[in-house]
Amino acid sequence: MISIGGFLSDNRASATETPASNKSRGANITVWVKINSEGMITILNPSAEMGQGSMTALAVLIAEEMDADWSKVRVEQSPIDPKIYGRPGWGGRGYHMITVGSMTVRGYFMPLRQAGAKARYVLLKNAAMNWKVPLTELKTEPGMVIHRPTNRRMSYGEIASFAKTVKDIPEIPEMSLKRPGEFRLIGKFVPRIDIPEKVDGSALYSMDVIVPNMLYATILRTPVNGNRPMSFNEKEIRSMSGIQKIVPLEHGVGILGKRYEDLLLAKRSLKVNWSQGASAEIFDSEKILEGYAKVASSRKKRGHVLAQKGDADSALQKAHRTYSADYLSDHVYHAQMEPLNAIVAVNPAGDGAEIWAGTQSPTGAIKEVAQLLGTSPRKIKLHPCFLGGGFGRRSMSDYIVEAAELSKAVRKPVKLIWSREDDLQYGAFRPMCLQRLDAGVDADGNLIAWKHSIIGDGRRLLSSGAKTPYYDIPNQHIEIIGLNHGVRLKHWRAVGHGFTKFAIESFIDEIAVSEGVDPYQFHRQVMRNSPRALKVLETAADLAGWGRTPSDGHAFGISFAERSGSMAACVAEVSLEKSSGKIRVHRIWSSLDAGIVVQPDNAVAQMESAIIYGLSSVLSERVTFKDGKVQQSNFHNYRVMRMADAPEEIHVKIIDSNESPTGIGETGLPITGGAVANAVAALSGIRLRHLPFTPERVKKALES
C-alpha cells in the first residue's frame, strides 16, 4: 500500500498530450493573446525561463500596450515557431527563439509592445462593431473599453465572448504607443509570475517530468574529449539488477532501466577501454598556459585583429613610460543547480519525437534531434520546462541529443539524467587564456598606446569584451591568437567579459597608481569623451563614497565594464587574511545603465546574481585538466560561492533612462574581477593577475 499524504502529483506528462497548453479556453485575440469570457488573459511567453525573469518582463510589455488588468494575466509557453514568436536576430538577421546574451527583453521590447498594441486594436475594433460607433470614439482603461461620448463601458472579457478574428491588423505607428510617462507596468514593481510555484516545490523542471513507460538512463562518457569506447564489461553489467538495455555511443556507454538508482550502481561497475589519440590528451592546464605565454612572446603566430586605431607599436616606442603585464585565467564551469537532463520519446517508426527539456535553444534542439532521426523538424515536438539555471550551458543541445539517441535505440521514452560528476567532468567550460597588455603614457600622463593580445583556445569566446570604445586611447591594437587543443568549451555567463574586463580594469588601475593618480580620476580622464559611461562610473563612486578612508584593514577597488549594450561600474570593499591568503569581499556598490528597465526589482536581483556569480569565479572557481581529464568532480573540489562568503551588502543604483532597453542578466559580472584585484592592490600592494584568486595563490603572492 502506498499512500502519499493526499498530494496530487501533476508532473505526469503523457507522450500524446501537452502538459501545459490548452488549459484556457477563450478567444484568440492575436497569436500572442487569448482572453476568456471571465476576462482572464493568457499571454504567450516565447523565451526560456531560467531565473532571469523574462517570462514576466515579456508579458508586461504586451500587457502594457494592450492596457490589460495585470491581475487577470496568466502566462503560458508559446509554441516553438520562430517565424511567429522569434525576436529579430543579431544585426537584424532572421528571427530566433534562443535565450542567450541578455538579448530577450531588448530584442522583444518593440515587437511585443507592437503585439500588445495590436491586441488592443482588435478589442477596440470588436467593441466598435458591437456598439456600431467609430473606433476613434473609443479609449481603454485597464481591462476595459470605453465609448467616450456616452461613457458606455465593456470589459475585455465581454468583448472576448463575441470577438471575431480581425484579419490584416495594421501596424501600430510607434508614435501611437505609450510614452514612458504613461507606463503603468513597465518600470514599476510587478511580482514575478514564476515565484509562487518556486516556493512550494510545484514548479516543473524537466527533472520532474514523468512520462508513462519511460526508462531512466545514465551515460558513462569518455574522460578525454574525442576518445571512443572500444570495449566494456557488457556481460557483467547486463547481469546486474534492473538493467534493461546497454547502448554504446560514439563518446560513451548508455545504461537504461526502470530505476535510476540501479543505473548508478551499474555505472560504478562499468569498465570501458577507451580509444587513444584524441588531441585533448596532451591538455595539462599548467603546461598549456606556459605554452600560451610562449606564443605571446614569440610573435610568430599572427593574431586575428579585433580593433585597430592609430599605430600602437610606434606610439609605444615613443611613449614617455610603458607598462606591460600578463593576466591569466583558468577554465570555469557553469554549475547550474539542476544537472543536465532531458526526456525524449522517439515514436515507434523512428521518424518523430517528443522532447521535454529545459533549454535555452529549443530550435537548436529540435533541429539536432531531427538530424539524428533523419526526419523533418516538423515531426519533433518540444515541451519547454523551467530551467534550473542555464548560464549558457543549456544553449548547447548535447544532453537532449543523447537522450534522443538512447530513445531511438529502445523506441521508448527515455529520461536521461546527468549526475553532478557527469555535468562537471563532461562540462563545456569558459576557456582558459593568457592576456598580454602593453600600454604607453606621454609626458603628461595621458594614455596614448594600448596593445591587448588574448591567447587561448576558444576563438570567439575569447574576444568578448576585449574592445573598449568608451576609453579614449588614440593608438590601439587588440587581437586574439586562437589555438585548438580539442577540449570542450562554451559560452558562460558574460562569455569572455569575465576575464577580458578583469585584465583591462586591473591594468588601467595599475597604470593609474604607478602614475600617481587616483584610479577613479584616471578612469574619468580616459572616459571623458563617453558621457554615458562616465555617469555610470560616477554613480557607483558616489554611492560608495569614493575618497573616504576605509575602515582598518579594508580597502576599496573600482571597476567599469559594458556588457550586452549596458554599462555597469562598482566599488568593492575587501579585506585580506594574511595568514591564509583568504580574500573577503564585504560590500559592493554598483551602478547600471540598461536604458529603460522593464522590471526594476528584477534588474536589481539580476545584478546581485551576476555579482555573486562573478565573485565566485574570481575568488574560487577553477577547473583544471591533467592529461586531458578534468580534475574536479563535485562541489567539494569545485567551489562555488556559499552564503558565508557572499558580500554582506550589495547596493545597486539603476540610472534613469528613456533609451531602448539593453541587456541586464550578465552586466554585473564583468565588473567583479577588476574591483576585487584593485582593492587587494590598494590594501597590500600585490597585483593579482591570475583568476581565480584562491587563498593559496594570494598567500604565495604575499610571500614573494
Binding site: D194, G201, E261, I417
Partner: protein, 154 residues
C-alpha cells in the same frame, strides 16, 4: 525490505532495497518531485527534507534510516504557500531559477523551529550548506528575518 514511515503526516509503506537513497524514493517512486537532486553527495542542500524535524540531505539518507520516523518534504510544509517562510520568500522575490529553493526553505524552516529569532551570523552559519547558484543569498537572509518577525509577533 518493507519500510514504514510517516510522510507529510500520512502513513507510508513501501518495498525498497534498504540502501536506496530517500531522494530517489521520494522523486522516482512517490512522485514528490519538489525535493531536488543537485549533487548526490550531500554537498549542495537541494534535497533537504526534515527527518523527525531535523534537516537531512535526502540524497545520502538510505531509506532504511527513515523506518518508523517522520519525513516532511516541501510539499508538506504547507498546503497553500502559507508558511511564513513561503510568504516571505514571495514578498522578497527570492527565487530566480528556483531549483535550490525547496532545499533552502526546508533548511530555513528547521532553523526557525530551533531558533525563533536568529541573528544574521546564526542564519549564515545554519544556511551555509545550501548552495544557490543564482546568488539569492542576501534575499534569503532578508526573507528569513521577515518570517522570524512574523512568527514572533503572531
Amino acid at each position: 525490505m518493507s519500510i514504514e514511515f510517516k510522510l507529510n503526516g500520512s502513513r507510508t509503506e513501501l518495498e525498497q532495497p534498504p540502501q536506496t537513497a530517500l531522494l530517489w524514493v521520494l522523486r522516482g517512486h512517490l512522485e514528490l518531485t519538489g525535493t531536488k537532486f543537485g549533487c548526490g553527495s550531500g554537498l549542495c542542500g537541494a534535497c533537504t527534507v526534515h527527518l523527525d524535524g531535523q534537516p537531512m540531505r535526502a540524497c545520502i539518507t538510505p531509506i532504511s534510516a527513515v523506518a518508523g520516523k517522520s519525513v516532511t518534504t516541501i510539499e508538506g510544509l504547507s498546503k497553500d504557500q502559507s508558511h511564513p517562510l513561503q510568504k516571505a520568500w514571495i514578498e522578497t522575490q527570492v527565487p530566480q531559477c528556483g531549483y535550490c529553493q525547496s532545499g533552502q526553505i526546508m533548511q530555513a524552516a528547521a532553523l526557525l523551529e530551533s531558533n525563533k529569532n536568529p541573528s544574521r551570523e546564526e542564519i549564515v552559519a545554519y544556511m551555509n550548506g545550501n548552495i544557490c547558484r543564482c546568488g539569492t543569498y542576501l534575499r534569503i537572509i532578508r526573507a528569513i528575518k521577515i518570517a522570524a518577525t512574523e512568527l514572533n509577533e503572531g
